[in-house]
Symmetry: C2
Subunit: 344 residues, 2 copies
């Protein structure tokens, strides 16, 4: 048998949230957007669906997307790196900054993929606990790379820009994972004006706020010199022609984006109030999900909901557990609240 | 400035073949298929173009594709790993088998990406020259991973199964890169019956023979236990929902595949004869391109063709140079032959 590296054999592998095929299920477990993508996305995909675009290689750097995103976000297109989902971007960053035996740091409880990225790279991984009110811990190692999701998952909380800047000074490179930033009050530190822009890499995804988890598109924003190095690490053609068309159309339709964002924020507010009424301790969230806990066993609640065809995420971080519930449509949340009422 | 790993800084980065936007150009430089993908591919993409499929995460392991490909190729679906192009698969294999400072080996002249994969991984790279008649060299290092493209690029030549099997015994793991195998006479050693199946990993792409370079889809075939390890290395959702639909439809339409393959083989035969008449030494090819050389400076021929809007690939391996010309439509090849006739 060909010998696989020991770090790969030893790891258990990241397990993504359940993807069931049952169309009747109410899926509140992987923070997908409950609303369709912009109608312009469908038009753009149909327009790109030609023999020539399918049979030929796509744009290696996704220049059409980079120019569109640059305009919308007010950044230099040269400071944008395209990715096959932001997972691809996180992998590229890991490979660019972290040698085998190097160190990745991340707060905890947080996105559990970061540990898997360290394991695949053969790197060490160090967790720095959040404070009780979800502020950054004080003592950080001098990591080759730190991942800071902001807003964080599962909490939906945001650490202020000063803490981000301070952390960026204390590690070799800081990845500010803004997968959920479009649901937050503030967009975080602009990469162009942050105190240490060269240490700060911002990552974003179109999976959540642009309703495009199925097409896999994410991107990084960083210093153009750094982006040129990251291009060496990515696969030459890491984004396909239809995804590029979809992503470009989605980010250009800011009116539609604002409309669905607004609906999600309204529903999130209502969920918060109703879950609190049922006795849950709900962490104030700036993301499209809520982290809620209650003083009784929570795994059985998750299981009972699952039996009733409502999928939420039960998460357990070394004994600190809770339910992470995505913000669905109003009808989905009504169903959830009805069922949960009978369970607590 | 955040410090990028030295191996990344030191590398120049893989440069893919030129992708010009000019629709008038005759593109014979990156081995794209000159014919459209199967009509079923368009139908499948249109059918998959729903709000739900775009907004939700896709199948992590691509089970629909795995079952279709398993049926068509006569292999266990569990022995198939899906990839975002076969580049993604080659990256996954590198990360799974090669530690930092480890060794990757490949024949030369061959696919130049393999060296870049070693550089990104911080691994050493050793080239083993082909013999003058494109057979495998005898002396191979005990590499962590060897890449053997079969048919090879730029030569289009095939080494026989016995040489493949012999090499698989001499390295930790052998990747048989069959990007062009669909244009060859033989499909190579079946993974299920090869002498050392656990040492042998087959990779394929739908970019060339299925005319789908734009949608990025490749796959690996290997021992199911090995595939389970590789799943830990890949990004969770590395293939998007539209690519999966396209790839599944394409591989299911074997009649269409045989039809375009047959046209390409016929044109290849004609190109071979005509280029030889013009004084070129043309290597007999089992791929969808020809490697041809002539006893005069070849870079100026490439440049003159480029000025006349015909793109071919000029390749130079430490002084051994030539032109790699993709098999186009008959009309494209007629244009090429007319222009080249005036240049040699």
């Amino acid at each position: 048998m060909a010998t696989i590296r020991a770090n790969i054999r030893a790891m258990s592998g990241y397990v993504p949230g359940e993807q069931l095929n049952d169309p009747d299920i109410i899926k509140l477990n992987t923070n997908e957007n409950p609303y369709p993508p912009s109608p312009r996305v469908f038009d753009a995909i149909r327009a790109a669906l030609t023999s020539d675009s399918l049979r030929k290689y796509p744009q290696p750097l996704g220049d059409s997307f980079r120019h569109a995103a640059g305009r919308v976000l007010g950044v230099d297109p040269e400071s944008i790196l395209i990715g096959n989902g932001s997972d691809d971007i996180l992998t590229i960053l890991t490979r660019a900054f972290v040698p085998e035996g190097g160190l990745i740091a991340s707060p905890t409880p947080s996105y559990i993929l970061y540990k898997s990225l360290a394991e695949v790279q053969g790197a060490r991984f160090e967790k720095v606990p959040f404070t009780a009110d979800w502020q950054l811990g004080e003592t950080w190692p001098r990591a080759d790379l730190a991942f800071l999701p902001n807003p964080n998952s599962p909490s939906g909380t945001v650490v202020p820009d000063e803490q981000v800047e301070s952390l960026s000074r204390r590690v070799n490179a800081l990845v500010l994972d803004q997968a959920y930033v479009d649901f937050a009050e503030s967009q975080g530190p602009p990469v162009s004006t942050a105190g240490h822009p060269n240490h700060l890499i911002i990552t974003r995804t179109l999976s959540k706020s642009y309703s495009l988890a199925g097409i896999r598109f994410g991107f990084a924003i960083a210093d153009p010199g750094l982006i040129r190095e990251l291009v060496k690490v990515k696969d030459s053609y890491n984004c396909d022609v239809l995804s590029l068309a979809a992503a470009t159309a989605a980010i250009e339709d800011q009116d539609y984006f604002r409309e669905t964002r607004s609906k999600i924020l309204t529903t999130r507010g209502r969920m918060n109030i109703e879950l609190a009424k049922l006795g849950f301790d709900v962490t104030p969230s700036e993301a499209n999900f809520l982290w809620c806990r209650i003083a009784k066993p929570m795994k059985p609640i998750y299981e009972a909901l699952r039996q009733r065809k409502i999928l939420v995420r039960y998460m357990n971080y070394d004994g600190y557990d809770g339910l992470r519930i995505s913000v669905g449509t109003d009808a989905e949340i009504d169903r959830l609240l009805t069922e949960i009422r009978s369970l607590v």
